[in-house]
């Protein structure tokens, strides 16, 4: 195992995905199946039972679900076993491991003496452990990549080193099969390293944060199960070699973000936010799905139609990239496909106009915001564009759309971030803005820069969010920065790590964000000068085709980017000034004197009694709260600051991987994230000048941010500005009224149409049915009347007429002999009379 880890980490790559998933399954089943068994017996009668008997009783009581789950497990095992036999390459080791895993899992799940308490306590160990193992594998993958200097993946298909990666046939329809597997190229390896490390740190941090909350402590296991499932989804996205599993991971993340935003189920605002997040991203996903269908459509044109379509990234690219769409007069196809796929990215990465869900998603627990809404999930959209970069390359329209949407988002979100007061919302808008930067990078043709910024941003934004979580923890769940201040003395570790993240985000040399953001801006400048050329073929046969000619309007993107960088530095240091510097203002808002005026702040260590390395037990100091006496902010325990420190190290040094100082495209980022794609700016006077100027701009932002928000004169100046531009301030403060616009012009009309449809269904469609029924009934009635009155009347009438006449003639046949005799006599008399008359 160790040898495999060191020499052939790719054979273990799929365990990076599998382990979080298994931990999710394990925790969930354990929580669902096992009952809450109180460890202490309640009354005398239960004490009498011997421990063995008690155990037996418990197991029988819990065991009513056994047969079905055991059967299910057995069936699943049999299926897997039979399927694994057919799997290709490198699976033999797994067919040994799989049954063991299954058996261990089943035994552990059904181990009857383990109650729910057990899993509540140990869930974080399981999920953090899974992520840690994943991080180790990912790190060794990265080390191998760097050491051997290989270009895994498509650039040099003759390299044999990655062939051991996991690949199976999923299922098929007719002659169409779905091979799925792990793709290990530069993007995937750097991505998976980032995701595992960040997710591990965040889960580690969450232990303390969630335990601190009353509701969270009750749902401890559930929280970590969802976290693990989320990590599974993201890792699937990063490692997939085909669109279908990519899409599944993508949607699993959507589900988990839905579940985790609404983790506090009792909060109506969280409920609203979770639905908003799911639906908004779903709108993007519809575009994404259509884009995939569009690719299938392109396949029919570019290829022999009898050849089966494939969802494999490599295969699609191979077939579609070579085809000359413009010549076939089908230039709109790649454009449409790219724009539709970009729609998915817009939804997931919260770009304008689908950015509205992300700020609201801050209703979830802070570590969730860190994981989902800062570091990883939102980055999936950017990653999608990176994966399909060749498609965007084929269409100038699509690339310009990406760039402009990115620019608008980067600048617009930064302006909103300037005026917010909620610590998490500021970071949320900053996230949107930074994602905009990544999109700019991709839109101007530098996948490398976009991906690099994605990676650095993940580290420092996760750090910032966790830092804000630490601040919120320290301030007992106050989130408004106006109630904070002076925390630098009270929470020093948090302060210094947060500062590292802030400097990285603001783009100050030599922190990570400086390198990546600068690279994006340099790429924009490069495009504005030279336009964008696509390079077809590699090596000797490479030729470059000018796709987008240079144009002055690209300088606007550049200016927006620079302005956004200034604003970023400004609002981040505004945040620092409000939160960490100055005096602690919570006292003043409560009408008390801040201790900062008088004596030195007494930073008591509330965490002294806790087990520092694992879980801080116990509730908040509720009594103090109930007293109405403000509590002093506290520093976080080690289980929370260690992840901060790890991330701070990354935020500080990660950027050096991409520094152009080492020259000749020889830096790691360019080497591994650049294959197939052109343009990596090398160090020349222009680049150096750009670097210097962007650093200058950022420093200006820092200066103003501190000056305005941390000095009396600045405060006065700020108030004057607010009063002067009150209308503008209101518009920005209310996020340019985008939410209101959607509510008014999209959501309400849809509900109205639904009501109309319902009315139509009830009164028209069903009305016709009921009317038909009624009409039949009336016709039947009419017919009944006709039958009763006319037809039967005719018959009855005939009978009546006959009866009437018979009534008339009836008296003749009276049965009396006298009458008959009289008639006979009369007729005889008539006869005789007639004789006489004649």
């Amino acid at each position: 195992m160790l040898e495999a880890l060191l020499k052939y980490p790719e054979t273990l790559a799929h365990w990076i995905v599998a382990l979080p998933f298994l931990s999710f399954v394990f925790i969930t089943l354990k929580l669902t199946i096992n009952k809450n068994v109180d460890p202490k017996p309640k009354d005398e009668s239960e004490k009498e039972l011997s421990p063995d008997l008690k155990k037996l009783q418990t197991s029988v009581m819990q065991g009513y679900m056994w047969p079905i789950i055991a059967l299910v497990g057995l069936l699943g095992f049999l299926f897997l076993k039979s399927r694994l036999g057919e799997a290709a390459g490198g699976i033999s080791i797994n067919s040994v491991i799989m049954p063991v895993i299954w058996i261990v899992l089943l035994v552990a799940i059904f181990w009857p003496t383990n109650s729910r308490h057990w899993i509540q306590k140990y869930a974080p160990y399981i999920s953090v452990g899974a992520m840690a193992i994943g991080a180790i594998i990912a790190t060794s993958l990265w080390i191998k990549t760097v050491q051997e200097g290989l270009y895994p993946g498509h650039a040099t298909p003759d390299t044999e080193i990655w062939k051991e990666a996991w690949k199976i046939n999923w299922y098929g329809i007719g002659d169409f099969t779905l091979p799925i597997g792990i793709k290990l190229d530069g993007f995937a390896i750097f991505g998976v390293w980032m995701v595992t490390v960040v997710a591990m740190c965040i889960q580690w941090f969450s232990i303390g944060y969630i335990w601190d909350d009353d509701y969270g402590r009750k749902h401890f296991g559930r929280y970590f199960a969802k976290h693990s499932l989320f990590a599974t989804g993201m890792l699937m996205v990063v490692l997939s070699d085909n669109i279908l599993t990519f899409l599944i991971g993508w949607e699993v993340m959507g589900l988990c973000s839905y579940l985790l935003i609404g983790f506090f189920t009792y909060k109506p605002s969280a409920n609203a936010a979770q639905i908003k997040a799911f639906i908004t991203t779903r709108i993007g996903d519809v575009g994404f799905m259509l884009g995939i269908f569009m690719l299938g459509l392109m396949f029919t044109y570019a290829n022999d139609p009898t050849l089966p379509f494939s969802f494999d990234f490599e295969h699609i690219k191979e077939v579609l990239y070579k085809y000359d769409w413009a010549k076939a007069n089908l230039g709109w196809l790649p454009t449409a496909a790219a724009l539709l796929i970009f729609m998915g990215a817009v939804g997931k990465s919260a770009q304008f106009p689908l950015h509205v869900w992300l700020p609201d998603a801050m209703e979830g627990p802070t570590p969730v915001s860190a994981l989902i809404h800062a570091a990883t999930m939102v980055a999936a959209g950017v990653f999608l564009v990176v994966r399909f970069f060749w498609l965007f390359e084929m269409s100038p329209t699509a690339m310009l759309t990406v760039a402009w949407i990115g620019a608008i988002t980067a600048f617009g979100a930064a302006t909103i971030g300037v005026v917010q007061y909620d610590i998490k919302r500021i970071l949320a808008y900053s996230t949107i803005s930074q994602l905009g930067y990544m999109m700019i990078g991709l839109g101007v043709g530098s996948a490398t820069a976009g991906m690099f910024h994605l990676l650095t941003h993940a580290y420092f934004k996760a750090l910032l969010f966790l830092g804000s979580g630490a601040v919120i923890y320290g301030c007992r769940h106050i989130q408004d920065i106006r109630y904070m201040g002076g925390l630098s003395k009270r929470m020093p570790i948090t302060y210094w790590t947060f500062l590292a993240g802030t400097l990285a985000l603001a783009g100050i040399f030599p922190f990570a964000g400086f390198w990546s953001k600068d690279e994006i801006l340099a790429s924009v400048f490069h495009m504005a000068q030279h336009g964008y050329s696509r390079i077809v073929g590699h090596g000797e046969h490479a030729e470059s085709i000018l796709m987008i000619p240079a144009h002055w309007s690209f300088y606007i993107i550049f200016i927006l980017g620079i302005a956004g960088a200034f604003l970023t530095a400004f609002y981040m240091f505004r945040l620092i000034a409000y939160t960490f510097l100055g005096r602690h203002k919570n006292y003043e808002y409560r009408g008390e004197q801040s201790p900062d005026y008088g004596h030195h702040a007494h930073g008591e260590d509330n965490t002294e009694a806790y087990d520092k390395w694992t879980v801080p037990p116990g509730p908040l100091e509720k009594e103090e709260h109930d007293l109405g006496h403000p509590v002093e902010p506290r520093e976080v325990p080690p289980s929370m600051w260690i992840p901060l420190v790890i991330l701070a190290i990354f935020a500080t040094v990660y950027g050096f991987m991409g520094t152009p100082l080492f020259g000749e495209g020889g830096n790691l980022i360019a080497k591994f994230l650049n294959h197939g794609y052109p343009h990596y700016p090398e160090l020349d006077w222009l680049t150096a000048g750009l670097m210097g100027s962007s650093l200058l701009i950022a420093l200006l932002g820092v200066h103003f941010g501190l000056k305005i928000n941390n000095t009396e004169a600045g405060a006065v100046w700020k108030d004057n500005l607010k009063a002067k531009y009150a209308g503008l301030y209101r518009a920005v403060y209310n996020k340019y009224f985008v939410d209101e616009f959607y509510e008014e012009y999209i959501i309400q009309p849809v509900f109205f149409v639904a009501q109309m449809a319902r009315a139509f269904d009830t009164y028209i469609v069903d009305g016709i049915v009921n009317a038909a029924g009624w009409l039949t009934y009336m016709i039947a009635k009419l017919h009944g009347w006709w039958d009763n009155v006319v037809i039967d009347g005719f018959v009855n009438g005939l009978a009546w007429i006959v009866g009437f006449f018979s009534d008339l003639t009836k008296p003749i046949q009276s049965g009396y002999v006298q009458n008959y005799m009289m008639v006979i006599i009369i007729f005889v008399l008539f006869y005789l009379l007639s004789l006489f008359i004649r």
């Binding site: 299922y171 189920t265 609203a272 639905i275 009898t306 089966p308 469609v765 029924g773």
Partner: protein, 666 residues
């Protein structure tokens, strides 16, 4: 209250019990006697039946491969519930335990038989697909279709030698030559690679004959031949599994029926007979009998055990469906006269009708007959604008019946389209495909919109059924392998998902006696298990990848996009415009399912419901198998697809061939 405290309650504060009179005791004695006697008979007969099944399984008459006369597993599957009806009838109405047990056993037995068909024991096959048998001495032989065989090498590579005398293979046993007796020791099971019918049963039923007046001879000739013809293939076998599974779970779900239990169970079992018969009958008359047989129990089940407007709903359901059935009957009879063959066999007519009605002059008849068949099936599916019976029937029906309605009865419509309309009138189906596509998209979007405006939980689920059946229809309209696979997938998955959703609605309704969405709120903490299961089912319903609902939608949309055969200009075609519109339905579905979850489970707890309890063991047993299937099919749909793959692909090829269109790849 603990056991100890209960004992402290004084007797006179407890419930006052009437002293038992002599009459009561007599009644109890009678009940006891009846139960004992019927129970005894029941035990004997049930053991005999199960024993008979096991015996005939091993002597090869339960499933007799290749013999349509000997095999009788399908008959058993269909008519086993009738035995249950019989025992319910002789049971005493008050012995509820016996009635429940009996009904459960006789719904589980067909399910069990279906599982035997599915998993059974496979026979060994050689690489060429020949079945492997053994002779007296244990040597292996590969049996060829003409009855001769190839000896196979054993482990050491030695091939046994046989002498042939007069064409008979002889083998030397204990020093003397004997003819070879080969035995296939293992039974057949449902073979996924076979295109045609399996487990076929064919018996004479009604022969209408006449003596020819012109001929001198005495021989009769047939005017019409009605046969007792059963069989399953990939289109019907998954439905058979679904029906038996859902019947079993719905039976568990209906154990809480208090009123007129005996009668309820009788109708329920009869309903199962009708459904199973519909899916297996291969003769038009037989099919029609079973098709109509379903209506009667359903009418009573809704009309007696339903909600406040039960009479209206039952009558509407019955009359509406009967209205469609009339067209079906007329269609069948016209088909008989137009083809001019003396048969009502569905399979034979599938071969004959497309040719007979294929000429230009007869094509209008194809259209007319397709229309007549389609009308009947469209009402059952239901397709807009014939859907309004469904919400009423669903809302008023008791829980278990709603499950059957959504899970099975709707599938009878799509089954009819796949089994009869499309293969028998392929050209008409092909010509009308765009119209079907339009109807499908209307179903999807319109159903979703109306569902969004509902305030009644059950009605919401009912309309979402309408919306989802649209995807099955869209798949059929796409007329390619993706589409047909998707249609069949969607049919099965929708049965599983909507079945569980209706069971879940029933769980809540049984406790709260209301289904108004706005009445609830914040139930998740106290109904944890229920909430989790409901969220999983809702996610499957809204088509989350990784759960069952996704695959049907995905492949049907993909099939639609791949269809370029109608009104194509440039890269656009008719179906490519339909697909994005259908995708709008997906978004709306997500919206209303999530709003539903929010209104019931999220937010602060509505104190009115603080006494609600989580699902009990019975409800879990009824729902969790479906949840497992949802997850399993979502992660790995391969086994399900392989069940019907051969049949649907064959159907696609046949339809395209008959309609004269070349086959297409992706």
């Amino acid at each position: 209250m603990s056991e100890h405290e209960k004992r402290q309650v004084p007797a006179d504060e407890g419930v006052y019990e009437m002293p038992r009179t002599a009459e009561d005791m007599k009644k109890e004695l009678a009940q006891g006697t009846v139960t004992m006697v019927s129970g005894l008979i029941w035990t004997i007969v049930t053991i005999a039946i199960v024993g008979g099944i096991i015996k005939s399984f091993f002597d090869g008459t339960l499933i007799a491969p290749g013999s349509t006369e000997k095999s009788h597993i399908l008959t058993l599957v269909i008519f086993l519930p009738v035995v249950g009806i019989f025992f319910n009838m002789i049971a005493h109405g008050e012995s509820k335990f016996f009635i429940r047990l009996n009904s459960l056993v006789y719904t589980i037995l067909p399910f069990f038989l279906c599982l035997v068909m599915l998993f059974g024991f496979s026979i060994d096959r050689t690489s060429e697909g020949l079945p492997v048998a053994t002779d007296q001495l244990g040597n292996e032989l590969a049996i060829r279709s003409d009855g001769t065989f190839n000896p196979l090498p054993n482990e050491t590579g030695v091939v046994a030698t046989y002498e042939i005398h007069d064409g008979v293979y002889m083998i030397e046993v204990d020093g003397e030559l004997q003819p070879v007796e080969s035995t296939i020791t293992k039974n057949y099971f449902y073979d996924r690679s076979v295109v045609g019918m399996q487990f076929e049963e064919l018996r004479k039923w009604i022969d209408v004959t006449d003596k020819p007046s012109t001929e001198v001879g005495e021989s009769e000739y047939t005017i019409a031949k009605f046969q007792y013809h059963l069989g399953v293939d990939g289109i019907s076998f998954p439905l058979l599994l679904l029906t038996t599974l859902l019947s079993t779970l719905a039976m568990i779900g209906s154990f809480n029926i208090k009123m007129r239990l005996k009668e309820y169970m009788c109708w329920f079992l009869l309903l199962e007979v009708g459904m199973l018969g519909t899916f297996t009958a291969l003769d038009y008359l037989l099919f029609y009998v079973f098709w109509e047989l379903v209506l009667v129990p359903m009418y009573f089940l809704i009309g007696i055990w339903g909600g406040p407007r039960k009479e209206y709903a039952a009558l509407k359901f019955f009359l509406y469906t009967l209205f469609g059935s009339v067209f079906l009957l007329v269609g069948i009879i016209s088909l008989y006269f137009l083809t001019g063959q003396q048969t009502f066999d569905i399979i034979k007519l599938q071969e004959i009708a497309p040719i007979q009605l294929g000429s230009a002059t007869m094509f209008k008849w194809q259209l007319i007959l397709f229309g007549a068949f389609f009308l009947s099936f469209a009402i059952k599916v239901p397709i807009f604008p014939f859907h309004t019976w469904l919400p009423d029937a669903h809302v008023e029906a008791p829980t278990a019946v709603s499950v059957i309605l959504a899970g099975v009865l709707l599938k009878m419509g799509t089954y009819g389209l796949l089994r009869m309309s499309i293969p028998t009138f392929p050209e008409a189906a092909y010509v009308l495909a765009p119209a079907l596509g339009v109807l499908a998209v209307i179903n999807i979007v319109y159903g979703a919109l109306v569902a969004m405006a509902q305030t009644d939980l059950k009605k919401l689920v009912a309309y979402s059924s309408i919306s989802h059946m649209g995807f099955a229809l869209l798949g059929m309209a796409a007329m390619n392998k993706w589409g047909f696979t998707a249609a069949q997938l969607q049919i099965i998955n929708h049965g599983i998902i909507s079945g569980s959703l209706f069971l879940l609605v029933g769980v809540l309704y049984d406790r709260a006696h209301t289904r108004e969405l706005d009445a609830f709120g914040g139930l998740l903490p106290q109904m944890r298990m229920y909430g989790i299961v409901m969220i999983i089912a809702s996610m499957a319903n809204l088509g989350l990848p990784g759960l069952a609902g996704f695959w049907g939608e995905w492949w049907s949309l993909l099939g639609a996009v791949q269809n370029t055969e109608f009104y194509t200009t440039g890269g656009l075609s008719f179906f490519r415009i339909l697909a994005p519109i259908a995708l709008i339905g997906i978004i709306i579905t997500a919206a209303y399912m999530l709003l539903m979850i929010r209104k019931i489970f999220m937010g602060p707890l509505n104190e009115r419901w603080n006494w609600l309890t989580d699902m009990d063991a019975r409800e879990k047993w009824a729902i969790l198998p479906l949840v497992f299937l949802m997850v399993f099919i979502g992660i790995y749909p391969g086994p399900l697809i392989s069940l019907f793959e051969a049949s649907t692909l064959n159907l696609v090829h046949m339809v395209r061939f008959m309609a004269g269109i070349p086959p297409v790849g992706f």
